[in-house]
Amino acid sequence: MSYSKTSIWQPMSSEVASLSIWGAFARQFMRHCKSLVGSPADAINPLLFFFMVVTLFPLGLGPDPQRLAGMAPGILWVVALLSSLMVSAKLFASDYEDGSLEQLAMAPYPLAVLVMGEVAAHWIATGVLLALVSPVFATMLGLSSAALPTLVASLMLGTLSLTLIGAVGSALTVSIRRGGLLLSLLIIPLNVPVLIFGTTAVSEAVIDGNTVSWLALLGGLALGSLALLPLAIGAALRVSLDN
């Protein structure tokens, strides 16, 4: 084991090609995905949390199927929101501690684009996964099977907004010791529209009502968040690096 004394400054085997902005985005996305594969608990624990908190409701409210079924849309969405709070607290924590954020900020690309790679991977690992397994929990609460597609779709769209808002909160609080609780205070009020639209969409699906417009509202929120929040995330991360 020795350092090579010669040929360290040989030009690299391939031509030095610079990376496009999308390449940089994809690289961040892959980095986070690989990291999640390396520690799958980060994706599985939120699901367990979701499962356990859903279990609390029959225990607290009583096992009456009719009553649970009536409350199921609200329960599922509130718990989805809570689990998004839990995972948001961790989003940028390790990047801040291990110096990755510094390096992201030094990279010759807009910070907002780079962190979106990470946020996208995070959304897939938490939001999309949660949406896909949610029918299991919904069925346990007695939600009518006709409402399940709407539930999955609403969670899919809604968690995108939740993840982006959570990322803003995480970026704002990452440099603060014990910022986890503070993060919840910051982003719960911002999540209110997502909760309302999501719950209403599922409730409407139960009574075979107008789900499309509510899903469209959720989609609109997601698009709006995608357009505006990356800038806020980037700005907040720069502030945190400066703190």
């Binding site: 084991m1 020795s2 350092y3 090579s4 004394k5 040929s7 360290i8 400054w9 690299m12 085997s13 391939s14 030095v16 090609a17 610079s18 990376l19 390449g23 940089a24 690289r27 961040q28 892959m30 980095r31 690989k34 990291s35 390396g38 520690s39 390790s94 501690e97 291990d98 110096g99 990755s100 510094e102 390096q103 992201l104 900020a105 030094m106 990279a107 010759p108 690309y109 780079l114 720069r238 502030v239 690096l241 400066d242």
Partner: protein, 197 residues
């Protein structure tokens, strides 16, 4: 070619003023060492120069060319292998092939460690993975914060050699270290004691 010009830079942290009136001009071929006691603001100045610290930084800083920053934290993910860590490095702006990365790891005496998770390496080995970026990056100005800490004698010698090569190839380096004048005639010192408020 001038790579960096800092004009009358002042730095404050919170309400405390650290430095004022710092002038620094770095051209290709330069090796600058920031000298000063603990807490004088070496890291703060390095971060300000790199653009990482913006609040509380007054004065004019112009940067030409690309920069590489190596701080106290190595920006390595513990559950990723050395290869993946360099392949997906957050600040890397060039596309490097796996062969490039493997030969870079070999250059820092880590041949055969490509697929080990970083968490399984020792602190010194992790440091060397971070130093492998000095082989892979195309940045012209290096900002190195205490690069010689946690390195063994061979490692220090390699890093010195690498820095000399870099400046010979039209690059420039600003670094902090407690050890005085490692590069002798080649380096210039910026003593921060002169700028303390």
């Amino acid at each position: 070619m001038q790579l960096l010009a800092a004009n009358q830079v002042a730095i404050e942290r919170g309400e405390r003023r650290l430095l004022a009136g710092v002038d620094l001009s770095v051209s290709s071929g330069d090796i600058w060492q920031l000298v000063g006691a603990n807490g004088v603001g070496k890291t703060s100045l390095l971060r300000a120069v790199g653009g990482l610290a913006r609040l509380g930084v007054a004065g004019e800083i112009t940067r030409h060319g690309t920069m590489l920053y190596l701080g106290h934290h190595a920006a390595l993910k513990h559950n990723l292998s050395a290869l993946d860590n360099l392949r997906f490095h957050p600040a890397c702006d060039v596309i490097c092939s796996d062969e490039d990365i493997i030969s870079a790891l070999a250059a820092v005496a880590l041949a055969g460690y490509e697929d080990r998770p970083i968490g399984a390496l020792s602190a010194g080995q992790q440091r060397r993975v971070a130093l492998a970026r000095l082989v892979l990056s195309s940045a012209s100005l290096w900002l190195l914060d205490e690069p010689f800490t946690a390195l063994d004698v061979d490692g220090c010698a390699w890093l010195e050699e690498r820095i000399k090569q870099h400046v010979a190839a039209e690059g420039a380096v600003i670094f902090t270290s407690h050890q005085p004048s490692r590069f002798g005639e080649l380096q210039q010192n910026l003593d921060l004691a002169a700028y303390v408020v």
